[in-house]
Symmetry: C2
């Protein structure tokens, strides 16, 4: 059982939670942390001796190590006296684009970063061909639905020869919260659409600029990842129809503030759609779907029948339905919190443990 070595990039919300979970792993399953970085600082282990996890904040602040570039990090890891793993807790495109170079040096990658798997299809191919050339591993459970077992389940279905026919669900915690509040299954009166968006923004349930949620790109990236695992060569998150909830007239708003101040002018459109759903005994949800046979991927508003799992969603839960040949009429369903630092980090830590077990 040889020692494994670990580099961690990013110590934001997910990164902090991950380091805390890492520190609590039993010794024999915890790789030696030999590199840790945030944007402008890094700690580089001397002679591959483990860095003390619990002191990372003061160590980072007082670190005088020159900041390594990504190829230098890869080189440092590949010189370690055992197999090594990089955990990317950033959401950086640059780091994502470096995965093939890590993997081709035999360094495994674990990450919640969606970018690598939802950008160009050629990057996707480069990542997995680099991995298979060196037997390095790539695990990215938390790139869809945070710690929910979405990626692993889909991979198991595919690997065991099931035919996945359709994937459908609510893939954004923010969108889930907004529509469960705006168009609740129990038909309680809700506020107007713009009021609900404003309240969610205040409560921190949206990105600082809510347009980053409302444009649908987060959901489109997740669908891109799932579609590719299901075998579709989706070119990227802009290569299929994605309904943006930013009204056309507000696309040119120069700031989040301007956008929020003008959003009430467009409440009537959302209200009309909601009333239309209501009169058909339905509610409104922001749904992503993949029809594997036809290759159709789409993201947007949908009227959903009462009594179904999507209509009954609560809080900011995600819900993912896998329709397959073996499962028949009723899908395999996974539901629960699909965002948040702790549950996202949980998916990363669980992936890390799988890599460590395979490297032993």
């Amino acid at each position: 059982m040889s020692r494994t070595y670990l580099a961690v990039l990013g110590v934001g919300g997910v990164g902090k939670a991950f380091l805390s979970q890492l520190s609590l792993l039993p010794d024999h399953l915890r790789p030696a942390l030999i590199f840790l970085s945030r944007s402008s600082e890094n700690i580089v282990s001397k002679d591959y001796e483990p860095i003390q996890i619990l002191q990372y904040q003061s160590s980072l602040a007082s670190s005088s190590s020159p900041v390594l570039k990504l190829p230098e990090v890869a080189q440092f890891l590949s010189n370690a006296p055992g197999r090594s793993i990089v955990v990317d807790n950033t959401s950086s495109q640059d780091v994502a684009e470096a995965y093939p170079s890590f993997l081709s040096k035999g360094i495994s990658v674990v990450t919640p970063n969606k970018k690598a798997f939802s950008s160009s299809y050629s990057l996707w191919e480069d990542i997995f061909s680099a991995a298979s050339s060196t037997n390095a591993m790539v695990y990215h459970e938390s790139s869809v639905g945070a710690g929910l077992p979405v990626i692993s389940t889909l991979k198991d279905l595919v690997a065991t020869g099931d035919r996945v026919t359709r994937i459908q669900g609510v893939f954004s915690g923010t969108m889930s919260y907004l529509f469960n509040t705006f168009s609740p299954a129990d038909n309680e009166p809700s506020g107007s659409w713009s009021e609900i968006v404003a309240k969610a923004k205040e409560a921190g349930f949206t990105e600082p600029d809510p347009r980053d949620d409302l444009n649908g790109m987060d959901v489109a990236r997740k669908l891109t990842i799932l579609a590719r695992i299901a075998g579709l060569k989706v070119e990227g998150p802009t290569s299929f129809p994605v309904q943006s909830l930013i009204p056309k007239e507000l696309e040119s708003a120069s700031s989040a503030e301007e956008f929020m101040s003008k959003l009430p002018d467009h409440d009537k459109d959302m209200e009309r759609y909601k009333q239309e759903a209501k009169s058909a005994n339905k509610v409104v949800r922001y749904v992503g779907s993949i029809d594997v046979a036809s290759g159709a991927v789409k993201v947007g508003l949908q009227m959903v029948e009462l009594g179904t799992p999507m209509a009954s969603l609560r809080g900011s839960d995600n819900l993912i339905c896998f329709y397959t040949q073996r499962y028949g009429t009723n899908p395999l369903v996974i539901q629960g919190a699909g965002a948040g630092a702790e549950v996202t980090a949980m998916g990363v830590t669980a992936d890390l443990l799988k890599v460590v077990e395979r490297l032993r």
Copy 2:
């Protein structure tokens, strides 16, 4: 990348489906099948050359190999020129009790057989201590909820340091079907309890003797497994309250036929309970629950509020809710078919792939 070797015990419904899935795996992931058995016959590979999977039925029927006893199978596998794996697709207690001897020889075990993990606590301990002494692996996803990712999810939650507070759900496809039909969420009129049981029996949705479902032991075994993974030292499936749906007066019925013929005499009790639920805006479900903090495990009828996932269950779906510290108020929920040869075999095949990947 060294070759791995495989013994398969049992070719009933799940065994057949498993062999079919095995035959379709890519060559580099498929271990060499070197032993295959059903109760009275077996095929033993000569010189560890792979047995042709697709011809197993005729090969078994024409096999003149003397039938090996379990210790002989273990010896044969441990002499193989590489790491080996036994897949137990039986529901045999004897085979279950042999797991420690396989594991202590370094042979990994993959199985949907509940017996090993839900019998005495000492067998459980023997299994996992034998495994850790040789680094052999034990995977048993399909022992709860068939191919649904129940065991793997619970293990990930525990391994990453989440605190699981409660596990609750509907763990039997048969019970799910019976109560979704008898006490549907849409309040459509249903037949009487005994009529529904009779129809389910005819359709093959129950065991040949429905008492084997109605006694609740299948659910109790699954709860035993989950409780143990969550850290509770549950002695066995009879060490906590399990409500049997076999009326006291019918416990002595000498046959399934006698039982079924007398069941209508007891319809009024079930009907009364259902009406009581209805007047409280609830439905009846057969629920298993584990309160991890107090250590309370129980199985039985429960009135469940309309609009909740358990009340909205359809068909013979299982539903498992994990309440944890990280997931907060809303549980992590897994739902879908929890029985059936194909989906059970899928869990076995996916487990096998994980073992193969770790052995490479």
